[in-house]
Symmetry: C2
Subunit: 347 residues, 2 copies
Amino acid sequence: MRKTTAKLADGRELIFFDADDAPLREAHDERPLTAAEPNPSEIRLDAVTGDWVTIAAHRQGRTYHPPADECPLCPSRDGRLSEIPSGDYQVAVFENRFPSLSGGVGRCEVVCFTPDHGSSFADLDEGRARLVLDAWTDRTAELRQLPGVAQVYCFENRGAEIGVTLAHPHGQIYAFPLVTPRTARMLQQAARHRAATGRNLFEDLLARERTGDRVVLATEHWTAFVPYAARWPYEVHLHPNRRVPDLTALTEAERAEFPAVYLDLLRRFDRLFTEPGQPWAPTPYIAAWHQAPHHDAAELALHLELFTVRRAAGKLKHLAGVESGMDAFVNDISPEAAARRLRELAP
Amino acid sequence: MRKTTAKLADGRELIFFDADDAPLREAHDERPLTAAEPNPSEIRLDAVTGDWVTIAAHRQGRTYHPPADECPLCPSRDGRLSEIPSGDYQVAVFENRFPSLSGGVGRCEVVCFTPDHGSSFADLDEGRARLVLDAWTDRTAELRQLPGVAQVYCFENRGAEIGVTLAHPHGQIYAFPLVTPRTARMLQQAARHRAATGRNLFEDLLARERTGDRVVLATEHWTAFVPYAARWPYEVHLHPNRRVPDLTALTEAERAEFPAVYLDLLRRFDRLFTEPGQPWAPTPYIAAWHQAPHHDAAELALHLELFTVRRAAGKLKHLAGVESGMDAFVNDISPEAAARRLRELAP
């Protein structure tokens, strides 16, 4: 993997990740961008729930469903200048122009998985998927060194149904200034489990799931299963078999096996809702890497949570009054049935 | 208020709430319904977060966007038999035919606000809105007496953007078998505040908000404000000025003032996103009554949380990777700006 760093016209950082045999990258951003007005985000604590909320009042003007020929994530070609001032790239990461976290309150980055606008993560070959894993790992190592960063979160939102406003295949990385509410709950549960049993919560859960009927696939280094209390119609948790705190702690053997496993999962997801004789209906999904916060004693086990908001062809699971009002999820599909269906969708 | 109780053909309960001068109701359900197969919901604890999830695998076949002339919430007229076997009603409540909570694990009810299919809560007159308040209050008192019910939750989802699949104006009531995750967090925060200060959390918050710049409207008995750490683009919390645990504890003076206050708020919400010269765009919203669990020492203060997922005309706030993955909400509109705008939208 070769890493090339550059600056965009307004001072934001741009980083290319390429295979070793790729052409060298040079980038000169010729756009007349000026540095963003300092308009920092604000973190507010909700005294009623104990959770914090980010107020980012400067983002309403962000790019919204641009036509394909104005895509800011495509390479800069034919006189059209995008966010990536290069005629080609393999994987590119840059600081978000409309960040939720800004002004010293964390940082937001965009990860472009491929220069091919009409593609998707599931379409990548294993070499490119490995390059994305390397990019996530590099950014985790770098961002957690920034002052004030507590937790690095790599994720992908896929599909307009999820709220994605740029169709080009990409993910995001948030370097949070605080431990997120969900991670804080996980750490609290892990601490309780440690106090009660002397063992790690995630290791115990993975051991239980590996012998049960919710496994989707299991390889030498990875296990994918539908969790016992899945919140979403189709939800898969992918764990390395060996507990590690974050992406930087994976071995080469674990890293080498990841692309095939993850691409297999994504392709099963994409087969969930396409009905015979109907046009292909790509599955909207969220893929969320859970990593231990930098200053945590590492009870949290690295894993990826992959889930879709689609519950049937043409029907979405909305977070309405029960979920959004009371955090009480109702799942219409039993986790065991979801696992069975995902097993049947093997290539 | 006059209450009339009947049974639907499959044994479910139906209750009419009418003004004292309304015609007497009789209901004979002539549909050939058979009692639902016993297929109870299951409550599963997520060991990783400590939250519970309801698995309701029997609901996938529920009614989904029927045409208006097949609406199950309209009165039964002209030979068409709906869920309400009466040619007219004012407010009607019945057990949900496709309940998320069933088989002894709680109960779900539907509340029809009006027989007028094309109307909305904001279109009700004060008398009808009062009748709905009386129905919510009656159901709270009744349902919490059922064996195994821990918390009664009255709410309305409004708009297809929220996932509403029946356009007829209606709300729902869930009688939960457990305290919901969000309520549990509120109770934990209130207990901490009590331990630290000797005072009630909600009383302190309301006192602070009443003197600040996030008040939307304040009357003799009620105060509506945008909370300091609002999660949603437009979010209003409506509290009675006197702390009470639930709807059954409101005085007649508080009850009498509620309809005008709530209708005013809903009508401001409906003016948020309609642009000059454009067709009226009703605001999708969730209205959620927070009540103290039945067996709680009543640190939780009754209040209504009203919020919309729309952030601008034609644009929704989606719960994507940051919110759904990490419970870390990002709000693009500052709570102070939201309050100012809602104040300006006074009738």
